[in-house]
């Protein structure tokens, strides 16, 4: 199943579905890269609330997405990692090093707002 990408103001919100294949994840990466470019977004929230399994490929792809978005001049926050998923990831040594995380969509948007608060005036 493909992830849906919503545009909200200067941010993009990608909702990852419960059943994502590796190909879906790679496609998400491409679409996000294109989306950030097209909309001149300053931040991306990747919401993984619905994911109940996070394998090493998914984690690597997420980290890749975050790094790529950074190279494009925007920031990425991964939100909605569930408690058991979080602990399973840590036990496997998949800690999403260098990637911002937040509890849920709301907090993720707050993080982005806080980091770009100073620029808000330029957009209005």
């Amino acid at each position: 199943m493909r992830a849906s990408i919503l545009k909200q103001d200067r941010f993009l919100i990608a909702s990852v579905q419960g059943s994502m294949t590796d190909a879906d994840l790679l496609q998400l990466r491409e679409e996000l890269a294109a989306g950030v470019r097209r909309h001149r977004s300053t931040g991306v929230v990747v919401d993984v609330t619905l994911l109940d399994v996070m394998d090493s490929f998914a984690v690597r792809t997420l980290r890749g997405i975050a790094q790529m978005i950074k190279l494009l001049g925007a920031e990425c926050v991964v939100v909605g990692i569930q408690p058991d998923v979080a602990f399973a990831m840590v036990q496997l040594g998949l800690t999403l090093e260098g990637t911002m995380t937040a509890l849920d969509l709301e907090d993720g948007l707050d993080v982005l707002h806080a980091r770009h608060g100073g620029n808000a005036a330029n957009y209005e």
Partner: protein, 324 residues
Amino acid sequence: MRQSDPTVPRRVDVSSLGVDDEITEEELLRRKEFLQFGSDDVANLVEIHNHARRYAKSVIEDFYEHLLSFEETRIFFEDPEVLKRVQNAQEEYFLRLTQGNYDLAYARDRLRIGAIHERIGLPVKAYLGMYNYYLRAVASRLIEAYESEPKRAWSAFLSLLKLKMLDIGLAIDTYISARERTIREQQEAIQELPIPVLPLREGMLLVPMIGLIDSLRARLFTEQLLAAVRDNRAKVVVIDITGVQAVDSKVANHIVQTVEAARLMGATVIIAGISPQIAQTMVTLGIDLGRIATVGDLQRGIEQAEELLGYMVARSRERPAAGR
């Protein structure tokens, strides 16, 4: 610790002592084999029964006189009624020693007696002292009784010694098992103590860790903490480990993993109150806390958490109001 209070249980509910099932037929047989207690010993003992009947009462009277001359044993027998009852029980036991048929019922009876003595807090040394006194008294009585046959007296005495050793073994086991049960119960009580997760301010959780943290408790702690982070929408968690006496590498790693898992959920964890010993253990074990924020004490931890959350705490008065 149980106080040596002789007024406690007059009559002990034996079924609650939990000793009834602790000895089996095979176990008893093994014990007897180990002591080389055989049928000839039984025969020897039965043979001296008539002598035992004669000397039992006087030995017991002497023995209690001896007991009562010591302060620490006298307190158990201050009530004359108790003394009377105990002496009767003792006499019964002495006579039982030379009646043969040392079966499972006999062994259970010894366990029961041992458990009762443990319950009232009679010290082991007094218990052993009784056996010592008894053996010495009987030895001299036997020598007198078999004056012309010292060999016979000697072999009867040895049989008695074996039986006594069997009894001592059983009685001491009840002492040990009672102690072990106490230790086990205390350990369980400690382990069952839940680790509280306390919301301190909006977005801040305080987790005071206390006592022994083993793997099981650490796992429960992780589940609890991560669920609390989600439910309270916590952004900062302060874990205070001042009350933790020791950590092993497994538990330390578990804490590290919990911290990282919390980070994946968007929460920052601050560890406060690492004691010098734990700090040393962690360094010795090579546990990397590089990515974990640690502070000296809880106060600093809360201050730092407030800073992260953007709280500013200020006094409303120059000086705190005087207590009334």
